[in-house]
């Protein structure tokens, strides 16, 4: 009788497709990765105790934002869409106009940002943020 020979196969993990799998994963990450860049409106805050800014009355454009998002420029109602042009006209006459923005305490934060956005787009460089009395 012939004894049967036992086979000793070498156990191996098949690695042939590793490169393909890694390529697929790489394509997935390349396609889905978004390098997020934050955006913001930069403010320079005054140091506590610093003297208040004094400006001539005719150099100041007083902008108020109401609780209901309504806008007033020097006491006259103005629409958000036409604010940029109104300020541009003002800056054309007096380029160093100081724009003060006063927001009602209960107005939504979005109203402030929308207004600041339009002020910045108008080209105004001197902007002061005030809080309405009682805030």
């Amino acid at each position: 009788m012939k004894p049967l020979r036992r086979r000793h196969p070498h156990p191996e993990i098949p690695l042939v497709s590793t490169a393909d799998v890694s390529f697929l994963l790489l394509i997935f990450f390349l396609a889905t990765t978004v390098f997020q860049v934050e955006r913001g409106i930069l403010l320079g805050l005054p140091v506590p105790g610093a003297p208040a800014v004094v400006a001539r009355a005719d150099r100041v454009a007083r902008l108020t934002v109401g609780e209901d998002r309504s806008l007033q420029l020097d006491g006259k109602p103005v629409a958000l869409g036409s604010l940029k042009e109104a300020l541009r006209l003002r800056l054309g006459r007096e380029p160093r106009t100081l724009v003060t923005v006063e927001v009602h305490p209960r107005a939504p934060y979005d109203a402030l940002v929308q207004t600041l956005d339009q002020v910045k787009l108008s080209g105004a460089r001197e902007i002061a943020l005030r809080t309405a009395e009682g805030a």
Binding site: A19, L26, T33, I41, Y109, D117, L121, T131
Partner: protein
């Protein structure tokens, strides 16, 4: 006269190391990707056209949710303590940029209170974080 034989070079791009490069890139992307849900702190940023890119990696993120919750780099903090905590950070790095992520619907008085705290903490650089909005 001997005629020289022209050598025929086979122009082949070596691709043997492609798998290694792919693996390295894969490891890079896997280790740097942060899967982050935007609504984790329930902050819906207001849109703006004039927002500038904030490229400061060390910026401290102060978030104000619609419900009034305040987080500092995703860690909850009481609104009254924001100034004190930031004061410590600013003492170590006076040029620190503070990025204020306030919800669009948050009442302005809360934002103003936070800004007052930032002012008291002597924060020199503050940014009102916005999401990019296209000009109409």
């Amino acid at each position: 006269m001997n005629i020289r034989r022209r050598a025929h070079h086979h122009n082949v791009i070596p691709t043997a190391s492609m798998a290694d490069i792919a693996m390295l890139l894969l490891i890079f992307f896997m280790s740097t990707t942060i899967i982050r849900a935007d609504d984790s702190d329930h902050v819906r940023l207001p849109g703006a056209v004039s927002g500038e890119k904030l490229l400061d990696e060390t910026a401290v993120r102060v978030a104000l949710g619609s419900s009034g919750t305040v987080t500092l780099n995703d860690a909850p903090v009481a609104m009254d303590d924001v100034g004190a905590v930031l004061g410590d950070k600013l003492a170590k790095n006076p040029a620190l940029l503070i990025s204020l992520h306030a919800d669009a619907s948050a009442p302005y008085e809360r934002v103003a209170y936070l800004i007052e705290q930032l002012k008291a903490a002597r924060a020199p650089r503050v940014a009102l974080a916005v999401r990019k909005r296209d000009a109409r």
